[in-house]
Every structure is written in C-alpha cells, then in structure tokens.
Symmetry: C2
Subunit: 231 residues, 2 copies
DNA sequence: ACGCCCTTTATGTCTAGACATAATCGACAG
DNA sequence: CTGTCGATTATGTCTAGACATAAAGGGCGT
C-alpha cells in the first residue's frame, strides 16, 4: 500500500466512523505533512483524491472540510417518493400495512440482510390510486433508532433518507405480472405488467436496508443518466 | 486553463475525433514532456486523470494505450448481449428483421435522434427461444461506417461497441405488456410482463444511437451497483 | 458601524530531479 | 524450437522546493 493510499484511507476511516462529522475541518496539509513525515505533494494527492470522491471539500485559505452528506451524482437515484409525487402535482399518501414486526436474524437472512431487522409493508398512493407497494427490511444494528418509529405517518424510505447516509447501493429491476393480493393492493387487474425494483443499501459495507417496490407499468419508469469521466 | 487540463483535453480530443482509435499507443510521457516543455509530473497527472476516466490504459514499460470502449466502470452498464448470453452458457443467435432502412431527418426526429439515421430491427435468441427484440436508430453523421454494414451477422449493439465510443448515456426502464406481433416475435402469450429498456447514447454531445429493447420479464433483469468515490 | 484595502495563509499548479517496480524483449542454454 | 534469465525501459511513487491565487481577517479611514 502506498503512502498516498494510507493517508487517504486513514482520513476516510475517520469520516465513515463518525469521528469527523460533516463540516469538520480536517488537519491542514502542513499538519499532515508533519504527521506522516512526507512531502506536501503526497498529502495533496491524497486530499485531491478524497475531494474527487466527494468526501471532502477543499477551500483556499480556509482548509479542507468533511463534505455534507450525499450529493451523490445521480446515476441510479434513490428517490424520495413523496417528493417525487408532489413534483408531479399529485397528493401523496402513505398507508402502512398491518405488518410491522421485528425479525430474528435467521429470517432476515433470506433476503441477504443477515441480521436482526424490522419488517415494514405499505402502499404509496398518488391522488386516489395506489402508486406502488413496498416491503422493507431495516437492519436494526445499523439504524437502532428505527425501532422507536411506527412508520404510520412517514414512509420508511423518507425517514431513512433523513436519518442515515448510505455509501453503496445495488438495484435490481425486473418486470413481473401482478397477481392475487398484490394486484388487489395496487388496484390493477391480475396479470398487469409491473416494474419490480429491489434495492440494497449499505453504509461502509454494513447493510442498512433492503426494499422491494412494485409499480404498475404505466405509473412509473426509471431514468438513469451516465456520464463517465466527469471531473 | 492549466497546462495539465490542456494536455488532457488535447489527448481526449484526438481520441474522440477518431484520430487515435482504440488500441493506439499514445506518445510516451517523455515525448509529451518534450512536446509541451513541462515536467514529467505534469504529463503524468494528465495521463492519470485520463486513465481514471477510462479513456486510456497505462502499462508499465509498454506505454499508454487508448482504451477499448466497453470497459465502462459499470453503473448502468451497456451490456453486449452475445457476450452476456454466452456467459450464461447459452448459444446466442441474432436474427435481423426485414427492416433495415435509411430514415430521413424528420422521421428520425420523433425519437430524439434529430438527424439522418439507419433503422434496424431484430431479435436476440438465447438457445432455442427469443431473449429480446430491439429497434434501433443509428445516427449516420456520427457513425458513417454503419451505412456499409448489413447487420445480418452481427447485432448492431455489438458492432457499435467496437466501432465507436460513447461519452454519455441515458436509460429509461419501464414495464409493459407484450401484445400482438411483439408477443409473437418474443414467443410469449399476449399480455406477458416485459422489461422495456430505452437507451440514448451520445459522443461528445452528438447523438450516436437510440435503441428500444424488450425482454420478457422472466428472462432478463437489470442490476446496477453504485459506490461513490470508488477509485 | 461600515466599507475598503492589504497582509496573511492554505491550497493550486508546477519543476527537476530520485528511486522503485513491472513488463518487454533479446540473448542464451537446453 | 522452447523456456529461462537478465538488461532495458516506461510508468509509479515520492521528495523538496518554487511561485500563483483566492479568500479570510485585521486595520484603517470615513
């Protein structure tokens, strides 16, 4: 491991652990030069790399600061549904289903969370009709505060967005036909083509939440933009 | 504009213009040092930045080479279907449909290409069954060589991946039901839930191709991974 | 109190080297 | 003809400086 990488990961570690929360001024370059006993160019390269990754923000004369949460550069976005529906000019409503239960570790394991979790089911409404349904697991070790929430008024996705950052996400998108109770909850005829979106999110490698959302094909689509090498 | 940025954009320009096609060895660092009359560190930073963006590949002793396009750092990937199907252990077959025609600018405009284009339709097969169908427009000003291709043996996506790089892509994903001739071509019953993937790609802001692909829900799903700041 | 200028200072860019490392390619032995 | 070894060479990482630049903050006059 090179010295530059060591400096970088040292700082990254302190940011991710919460030791240096957003807004903290990290040591000046000349202080890091002293700490690691190296040239300023080496420290500077490490900081530049952190700045490119969006973890810190550098300001002349002022120093370098831990960046405020995610302004993640929009690839496959994690949308806030209430906001999204409001921006379309519709009234949003969240309807938590009957199931809100704590799961033992072994059951949660089936979806890859692999730890004690909270299970929440509910429906997102746009105006008078159902917009989508979701089944969500929240890892209680990563987000202990979730245990105190009922999620009756606020959908869990919205609550999570403002209570915990994520550093990694995987999406899986499929087309499935809605049948039986699922079709009934969505208010569509059995066999309707739906978009199934599964999302896993992690914070520093630790699972945070897993959600499966189902949207009738005519009510939702995903747009993803990608520009490689944008500096 | 800094010297580093000038060196970077000079090289970028030659790659995008096609003057240095994929595989070309770009001048050695010491040659660039001579050309720009600067220190090696400056040239090296410019090349490092190009390598990070995936435009070039650097190899010790050998030099730096223009990267082959399809190594995009995977967010919403542009997959090569033949390769993807082969990796699943199935036999791939491409079946170009009857339509391969040049479109006047005004017709192409309807899909947002906005320029003379080539229209190609065809079916991707995996083993004995249809895997997906696609309808594609290729902008002839961006890819003039496409006019000479029949696309009978090679699907246009594969051909494009090895003939032209892209710098920007937009994806749109929906769930739709396959009906009529579409269902017949896919070999599914009418009403089957399908994933519709539309993709627009650009090279330096100029449209390259637009494709609409339709996959039966049980034969394809999209996985997108996102790690901010991954080097 | 307020606006203006000027000093200070941390980052931004760059130079001219050094040594490390890994891959290529030719020479040479089998 | 084939495989191994060593010299060569381009990139990788780093040092110890230099000067440029932008912005914070203090001092000054109004």
């Amino acid at each position: 491991m090179t010295l530059e990488q060591r400096i970088r990961s040292d700082i990254e570690e302190r940011i991710h652990s919460g030791e240096w929360p957003p807004g903290t001024r990290i040591p000046f370059e000349h202080e890091l030069v002293e700490r690691y006993g190296c040239a300023r160019a080496t420290v500077s390269k490490a900081l530049e790399s952190l700045a490119r990754a969006g973890l810190i923000e550098r300001r002349r004369k002022a120093g370098s600061f831990v960046a405020h949460p995610q302004v993640h550069s929009a690839v496959l976005d994690v949308p806030d549904l209430p906001q999204l529906i409001a921006s379309r000019g519709e009234i949003y409503r969240w309807d938590r289903g009957v199931r809100r239960m704590a799961l033992p570790s072994d059951l949660a394991d089936e979806t890859g969370i692999g730890r004690p979790a909270l299970l929440i089911e509910g429906t997102h409404h746009s105006g008078a009709s159902a917009f989508g349904i979701e089944t969500r697991l929240i890892a209680l070790d990563a987000v202990p505060d979730a245990a105190k929430e009922s999620f009756l008024m606020t959908p869990p996705g919205t609550w999570l967005l403002s209570h915990t950052p994520w550093t990694q996400a995987r999406h899986r998108i499929r087309a499935v036909a809605a049948t039986g109770s699922v079709a009934r909850r969505l208010g569509v005829v059995s066999g309707t083509a739906c978009l199934e979106l599964q999302r896993w999110t992690w914070r520093s490698g630790v699972p945070v939440t897993h959600v499966t959302q189902l949207f009738p094909g005519d009510r939702y689509d995903i747009v993803a933009e990608f520009k490689p090498g944008a500096q």
